[in-house]
């Protein structure tokens, strides 16, 4: 009886230890990592698809003296941009990416002209629409300092923008009424570096990208009969972010960006309407990781700038890892 009792007690006690199991990370868990904890590239064989929606409008801008002011004329413009993203992990350090944008832009101009000398009045409403596939972007991302064994990781990127969007105005009625281009009409090469320091539940990032725009030809103004050579000014984007988990599945990203655009050229000479511009902006992002789904929303708030828009941009996105 004593032996049976002792064995029984040992069995009972042993049940207490069952709870002390180590959490096993399986491949499904790896696909559920958040933007803070995931590696800087996809793991080998992982496929991520995503849809990004971007909404912006034109109401205020930073003028030449960096002062925020309303656009003076009675115009109105909105931009709706949808971007389909596909990423594939070639190996644990190399990811390739394809981004396909669809653009829907609208610009309205309303004016009235009174001519008392001929006793007449003209009211004019012009709409410029730009709808269609934009410029595709292919991208290769490589981890120089891998995330696997380091708190500090670094990746290099090389983007290539292909001028697949319509580059010239179409269905031109007059200089204010036509189908706007949906692409820039030129190849762009963008090398970049992105570094991250992970200290759970925080992460800190720093990045720098440089857009080199190639020379191309297109119709620069609606109504022009001939294509002209142009080159957009090169663009630098640099910044950093402080990110942290609000809970296990919601991350808050706080990003600061500085952008600088050089002066563009038309037919080899600096163009008056392609300004040197810069902007400084803050983007808070909330990202929800629900298993393999990732939902996010972001607002890009321009803080300061010169000859750039001063209205916030809204970004919503959804991603899924296979």
């Amino acid at each position: 009886m004593k032996k049976i009792s002792l064995i029984y007690l040992l069995v009972i006690f042993s049940t207490l230890a069952f709870g002390q199991t180590e959490k096993i990370i399986n491949p499904a868990d790896l696909k559920q990592q958040t933007v803070i904890t995931e590696p800087l590239t996809l793991r080998k064989g992982f496929l991520r698809v995503g849809l990004f929606y971007n909404y912006s409008l034109v109401d205020k801008y930073f003028d030449n003296s960096a002062k925020k002011t309303f656009y003076p004329g009675s115009g109105w413009a909105t931009s709706n941009n949808l971007q389909f993203l596909t990423q594939y992990g070639v190996n644990d350090r190399l990811t390739v990416e394809l981004r396909i944008p669809y653009t829907s832009d609208l610009k309205n101009v309303h004016q009235k002209m009174y001519a008392p000398i001929i006793d007449s009045m003209v009211s004019a409403n012009y709409s410029t629409r730009g709808r269609g596939i934009g410029d595709l972007i292919v991208d290769a991302i490589y981890q120089i300092i891998p995330s696997k064994d380091h708190k500090l990781s670094l990746r290099a990127e090389m983007d290539l923008t292909l001028p697949t969007g319509r580059k010239n105005p179409a269905n031109v009625v007059n200089p204010y009424e036509y189908d706007a281009p949906t692409g820039n009409g030129a190849f762009v090469v963008t090398p970049g570096l992105y570094a991250r320091l992970l200290s759970y539940p925080f992460s800190f990032t720093a990045f720098a990208y440089y857009d080199y725009n190639f020379k191309e030809h297109k119709i620069l103004n609606a109504g022009d009969l001939e294509e002209k050579e142009f080159k957009y000014g090169n663009h630098i984007n640099t910044g950093g972010s402080i990110n942290f988990h609000l809970n296990e599945w919601i991350a808050l990203i706080n990003e600061l960006d500085y952008d600088h655009w050089g002066k563009g050229e038309e037919e080899g000479v600096p163009a008056n309407d392609l300004y040197t511009r810069w902007s400084f902006s803050y983007s808070p992002r909330l990202i929800f990781q629900i298993r393999r789904f990732r939902l996010g929303e972001s607002v890009e708030i321009p803080l300061k700038g010169k000859m750039t828009g001063a209205d916030p941009q809204y970004i919503l996105f959804v991603q899924y890892v296979f």
């Binding site: 007690l9 003076p72 004329g73 008392p116 929800f288």
Partner: protein, 355 residues
């Protein structure tokens, strides 16, 4: 001995299997439980000792409005679409389980352009641009709410009374119009820029009643709100003359009465998970009885009606933090703007005096 051994075995068995008993509902109303209480189990006011800070931002895109007949005016093709940026700060405290105190204010910024007009004469073209800017802090709303003095199970009812204290700098400042692109006295651009402030300028009382029903994961709410000014107000109207590219301004005072506002709203909520609540709200508002004085004569303000639908959600991010997001679409109305808006609010909750 056998009895002692048997007793020991039974006692240890009970100790070891005791954790299974933990999987029952706790009725203890600790701080954590109260802070994470889902919407369908929450009363209409805060718990005793609960402090809540709400900070919100509303982006409203004003691209349509309704005329006197309720017909839609497309402002995009009229040249006066605009964007409104509205910030909101609200501080609430649960004095008792059925009494809540509230202080709220706001800040808004909006610029409304009118159509650009060209005047063509024999010597050149003059262009007129017109901008009405609204910018500034709103009044301070102080209110107190009283709800039914027993635990919320299925039905709750709340009465609120408050007053807008005219703390805002409401008086219309001087315009800041400019001349640009000046070539000669016939060829130039006039940029009219009229500045306006936020706030009623007089005390305005606010009364409201709300009722809430909960059945399982579904909840329904309905409310009625009434706002009325306590007296007439006085403000400044500016006139301007242009001489040699310089604007000269002169002001005159006028009287006005803030509109009386009545609003009813109803919403259906679904508690999809303990941390996630979605809803559909509908509200109808009517502004009337107000007037504005022009040259000594009182002119009635146009009566405004507006019906809007607002789907939204609430996400409990942590025990202290909750995120609310509402999208608003205006369906019908009269004499008022019909903006599309996105309202995001972060709510921070705590019990500062509870261990």
């Amino acid at each position: 001995m056998k009895i002692k051994l048997l007793f020991t075995i039974v006692a240890f068995s009970l100790i070891c299997f005791n954790p299974a008993k933990g999987q029952t509902d706790t009725t203890k109303r600790d701080k954590y439980t109260l802070l994470t209480m889902p919407y369908n189990k929450r009363p209409l006011s805060l718990y005793k000792g609960q402090l809540q800070v709400n900070a919100g931002y509303k982006l409203a895109v004003r691209s349509r409005s309704f005329d006197n007949n309720g017909d839609v005016i497309d402002l995009k093709t009229n040249g006066n679409s605009s964007v409104s940026n509205y910030f909101f700060l609200d501080l609430k405290y649960g004095l008792l389980d059925f009494i809540e105190l509230d202080a709220a204010t706001n800040y808004m910024h909006q610029g409304i352009r009118s159509e650009s007009i060209y005047y063509l004469n024999s010597n050149g073209i003059t262009l007129l641009n017109n901008l009405n800017e609204y910018k500034g802090m709103g009044d301070l709303l102080l209110s107190a709410s009283f709800r039914l003095p027993f635990d919320f199970k299925f039905v709750d009812f709340k009465l609120t009374g408050g007053i807008y204290i005219p703390t805002a700098e409401y008086k219309t400042p001087e315009p800041s119009s400019t001349i640009s692109d000046y070539v000669d006295s016939y060829n130039y651009t006039v940029n009219y820029h009229f500045n306006n402030k936020n706030g009623f300028g007089v005390p305005v009382i606010k009364l409201s009643a709300d009722v809430k029903f909960t059945i399982s994961k579904f909840s329904g709410t309905a409310g009625f709100t009434f706002q009325d000014p306590t007296k007439e107000g006085t403000n400044i109207r500016w006139d301007q003359t242009l001489t040699n590219q310089t604007f000269n301004y002169s002001s005159s005072s006028y009287r006005y009465l803030v509109d009386r506002m009545m609003m009813i709203n109803a919403s259906v909520h679904f508690q999809a998970a303990g941390w996630f609540n979605i809803w559909l709200n509908g509200n109808y508002s009517r502004n009337s009885e107000g007037w504005t004085e022009y040259r000594g004569i009182k002119y009635a303000n146009p009566e405004k009606h507006l019906f809007a639908i607002e789907p939204g959600f609430e996400i409990q991010i942590s025990p202290s933090l909750t995120l609310y997001q509402v999208v608003g679409y205006t369906f019908s109305g009269r004499n008022t703007d019909a903006p599309f808006y996105l309202f995001t609010t972060i709510s921070y909750n705590l019990f500062p005096f509870l261990k």
